[in-house]
Symmetry: C2
Subunit: 403 residues, 2 copies
Amino acid sequence: MDRPSPATQDEVRRHNLSSLLRLVHVRGPASRADLTALTGLNRSTVKALTEDLVSAGLLRESAPVGTGGAGRPSITVEPESELVYVLALDIGVEHLTVVRVGLGGVVLDRRELAQAPKDYELRRTLKRLEKLVGSLLADTPRKARCVGIGVGVPGGVSNDDGTVRFAPNLGWTDVPFREHLTSLLGTALPIDIGNDGDLGARAEHLRGAARGLTDVIYLAGEVGVGGGIILGGRPVAGHGGYGGEVGHMSIDPKGLTCRCGRRGCWETEIGDQAVLALTGAPPGATLEHVLAAYAAGERWAQPGMRRVARSLSLGVVNLVNIFNPQLILFGGAVRNLYVALQPLIHEALKEALQAPGEQVRLGVAGLGDDSVAIGAAELAFSRLLDDPLGTLGRLPSTLRLPA
Amino acid sequence: MDRPSPATQDEVRRHNLSSLLRLVHVRGPASRADLTALTGLNRSTVKALTEDLVSAGLLRESAPVGTGGAGRPSITVEPESELVYVLALDIGVEHLTVVRVGLGGVVLDRRELAQAPKDYELRRTLKRLEKLVGSLLADTPRKARCVGIGVGVPGGVSNDDGTVRFAPNLGWTDVPFREHLTSLLGTALPIDIGNDGDLGARAEHLRGAARGLTDVIYLAGEVGVGGGIILGGRPVAGHGGYGGEVGHMSIDPKGLTCRCGRRGCWETEIGDQAVLALTGAPPGATLEHVLAAYAAGERWAQPGMRRVARSLSLGVVNLVNIFNPQLILFGGAVRNLYVALQPLIHEALKEALQAPGEQVRLGVAGLGDDSVAIGAAELAFSRLLDDPLGTLGRLPSTLRLPA
């Protein structure tokens, strides 16, 4: 307690490289002067460290930005976004998305597939993923290097062993998803799997509408509704990391039966299939059709949508009372639902307890449909960011799909 | 980032005094050898620091405990519990409790008062508190020193300005409670106010059934039901500290109207007055009567209690899904409710999502009726523990009520 035990020189260097790369990854191009100011390191240390990261192919120096002021313009470094990337897989019930995300959080390329409900059976999902990834890699420049794979799943995940413990809307229980992906992709690259809500929250907090905030709830919506929770500036996901399942908060003991087996779970009222059913939408209609019909004042859509608004508000006010967040962010399909029903939901906020009701703001995901994929990419980048040169040394140099 | 800026000698000393006093406060009597091992400080530093704390009247040395082993037995220090105390006020709707808690968390003396519902009007509450505190102080040894006052309230509190923002079951809105208490007690001692659920959680985490755990929900129950939440080892209370109001999670859109104005709040089904009403208990009956009648199989109590069990389970499963806690602790009146309904609630846990359902344990508050008061005492002790000698120097030396 007198003072911390001194770090070894290697540890200090790794720590400094990590801080520097993370800064550029999160904030984008920065001058050496910026980095000196932001890290508190001295100028010559920053110069040496950036040179190491440039030699490793993680950063590149670019033409100095004219300062207009006195003194030499400082050299600018930026992430090698085109050359260093991760694969981010966003597994939904109704969609599969594969995104190639460059260092710095840049979306380089993407493939997606809408799938009909019930099409999410594991083996079929894997087949489709194989195609999507194959197509994406076929268009990837040879000299670009994949440094990890991140996956978002609508369910509870144990990232220790890569198992999806539960994903009621996919019908998956204890699926060893990392194993499946490893053999599917035939790669020794690390594969990290997280819950879609947690990843969406992470991405919005780092790069989206929740930047700089400390107390945020992100809602990931589709057939089901997941949540990611940030309190006191930190993600909080409970003891095993399975927390945040706000879609499985029951709001009605006599409600509809949920895929999880309970009655009246929030997602049985506000998930997109639920909205179609509750409004009595015509066969083949999508959520967009229903929302358009509601907005156009078509009579058939009104009563159902009023019920959905009531249910959405009920859960939102519960979250306000339970968490006292600064911001509740609507992502995925609940984003469109929130936009359509905004006036009704803001009105209902008056039912929250006074002080937390005053403090909360509602908004839509800043990264749109990409929150979960960007969050999965961040999960995949985290090894590299924690220990840039060490991780690069340990990684296999190529990602190849089996022929 | 190279290394932390060096602390001044004064800062280091304050930090070390704080660590040492906190250790003895939390763990109880300790030998200098224990303290040396636990703090990582060297033996002579520990000796000098304990001597300072002994001279200040915060610790005392006691006869060494025989070690039975080789070497000199080490001198033991313990908190001066009889001489250094705080006043802890637990403000309920149906009870007022004032406890004198000695350094080390020892309950030295207490006064309590049951009050009929609706008797909690602010001015009457203050009158009663004055009497309770007066009676307690009359029996306090002259040489004992009060170092702070901590208060638990069933509502949302802004401790910055000492205002109770909302306490629906007391009917209080924006009550400047610290001001009232300051003039009532005529003291310059610091008064800290917190939410009952948060304080109960804090006490259980430090000294009760949640010791050593990281993810815990504590339920404080009476007329209303409050909650205190600990995640990742830290209390999390949201942006303004108003979070944890799980009693105002609506579980039924067609439910009873709550004092907060909403319908179907959890506490309208499991608060003690709610249980009396739902079971149709005879006039004048208490929760204990109803629980005894239920346990004895008296017919009138069965249907209502089954409904209460269903509602209690519904909220518990919601909390399991939302938070993935290791432990949910039942305190106050919900403690007795949980004990009476335990088999039904454990059965209902099967409805939780698989992984969080497996990981959660249910239990009763280890500090019984005192969780909130002990938590309020910890809040009051925290200034002293953060800066022992500095705080002592700044405190007024006596606590007197106006004649």
